[in-house]
Amino acid sequence: MKLASRLALAAAVALAACNLALAQTSPATPPPSKKTVICLLPKKKGLPYFTTCAKGAEEAARELGNVELIYDGPTDGSPEKAASMVDRWTLRGVDVIAVSPNDPQVLGQAMKKAREKGIHVITWDADAAPEAREFMVNQATAKDIGYALVDAMAKDIGGEQPEGEVAIITATLTAANQNEWMRFMNERLAKYPKLSLVATKPSNEDQRLAFQIAQDLMKAHPRLKGIFGISSVAFPGAAEAVKQAGKSGSVLVTGLATPNDMKSYVHDGTVKSVVLWNTIDLGYLTVQTGAALASGKLKPGQTTLDAGRLGTKQIEKDQVLLGDILVFTKDNIDKFDF
């Protein structure tokens, strides 16, 4: 038992050292001042898309001065872990929780509980049920995204009536956002009767698997004209498969991604359009909205919001609008660096 206590002491020292080492890199506990604590929850931590959003959020927090920003999310994208984080923040009693729900159903419950405790809850990037949040910082609805993807593909294939077989490579079959986008993509495909969707395949968030599936699809469907890569790793994986098969330009790939990750494919012609929005501005606007809500400057029914360097932003009902979806092409992609 003497040894046990010695070991216990060693463990305590190790933990304390760990704490000291981390204290410098991480935001410490909030001092009991009047700082507004805003929590920003991404769908999946570690994706460049969300990392760039976090950069914009930090910028806004710095400008506002009295805001403490907490950015954390599940590294594996698990909705259950995300919901647990919302639970924890609720118990901590933070001021604002901004959620990008990876699964609106699973997170909705946790968000409702946070609201019952008097915490301001908003959504950003993706929406949940209206009763689960006060506002949504809206860069694009699922409908906008689904339509924009299909329209971009139709334009890339070209012609009065774009024609050919297309396929979708999604994240996982259970991914709520992707399923929502695919619903609207199918709806929009009706407008182009000669585009036929021949396959929808999951890539399990694995770039290599997306690559292999794109290879298989091209061989199994020789008349394939286009592939949608609708998760951030499916897109580069599919583009790489097309490029290595020597089919750049004859099989077109499109999807959602940050421009920096896709520049090389846009320049060599594998990808003609990348659909996205300004992610830095999205993070920035989210923190601005959260801070305004916490300080009472933003109330339900308002139609505009003063959003720092972004100027005045429109509010439609409970949607704070960021602006239009951007389509990056060969001509404009080099102007963006994120």
Partner: protein, 314 residues
Amino acid sequence: MTGRDRAARVHFGVLAGLALILFGFAAWLEPSFIAPATQRDLSLHAFELALLALPMTCIIVSGGIDLSVGSICALAAVVMGLLHEAGAPIWAACIAAIGAGAVTGALNGAFIAALRVHPLIVTLATMAAFRGLAEGLSRARPISGFPPEFTRLGEGYSLGLPIPILALAIISLAAGLALSRTSWGCWMYAIGSNERGARYAGLPVDRIKIALYACSGTAAALAGIVFAARRNTAKADIGSGLELEVITAVVLGGTSIFGGRGSIAGTLLGVLIIHETRELVSWHWHHDELILLVTGTILVASVLLNNLASRRAD
């Protein structure tokens, strides 16, 4: 045997010390984290882990392993959701889901006992197959809209404690007594220490194994149902990766991966340490990456320290 008992006691002591230090450290670092109300609400996050760790302890003690528990969670939740959607009364759907869990678990047990395939291999294959079944049956969509008397099961309070945690306490007590006080429990240790010997001694080894894996499946089904109640959603991706967390907790609690040694009390302590570490790291540092780092280190370090300690003690 006394050497082994002593090693087990040392390990338990180390863990208890670690848990105390953890709480002390947390109290110093984040007083609000230690508040009973906070701890009570956070305890819900450990329910699935703790519930599955109980039968897993018995299985590992008897020399087996079950990697399919996370998938059975999903399968049972989906079965329950689909039946409810089809108009079955919610409690009937729950009973059917628990039945499905028991049957899939017993199937694992049958492959292991009757066909004599190694449990690691059987459950590695059924882990994929059961999750696939859940995905196919539900067409991968979330099933929602459960009645409030059902969701209360997942987040309601009774006697000042969350209902799942009360249930967990009762089940833990039963599992602890079964493993340490009944002849069945004794047989599990016997099978885990020397299976051939147990067979020669006339123990119903195959029947015990099938019963054990059926229990594991039942517990997994219950965990899946409670999850569905807490988040008001049944879906095919519930419990992904849970099996490794459960095994981590059981092994951390001092159960030998080779069978023959282990206890429910140790497992509960293992669950407690993993749960509190996870919550505290997330509460204070907001770095999800760190949780992986810390839990993995604790697992290896605890076994390593225990080995060093028992070597000295010998």
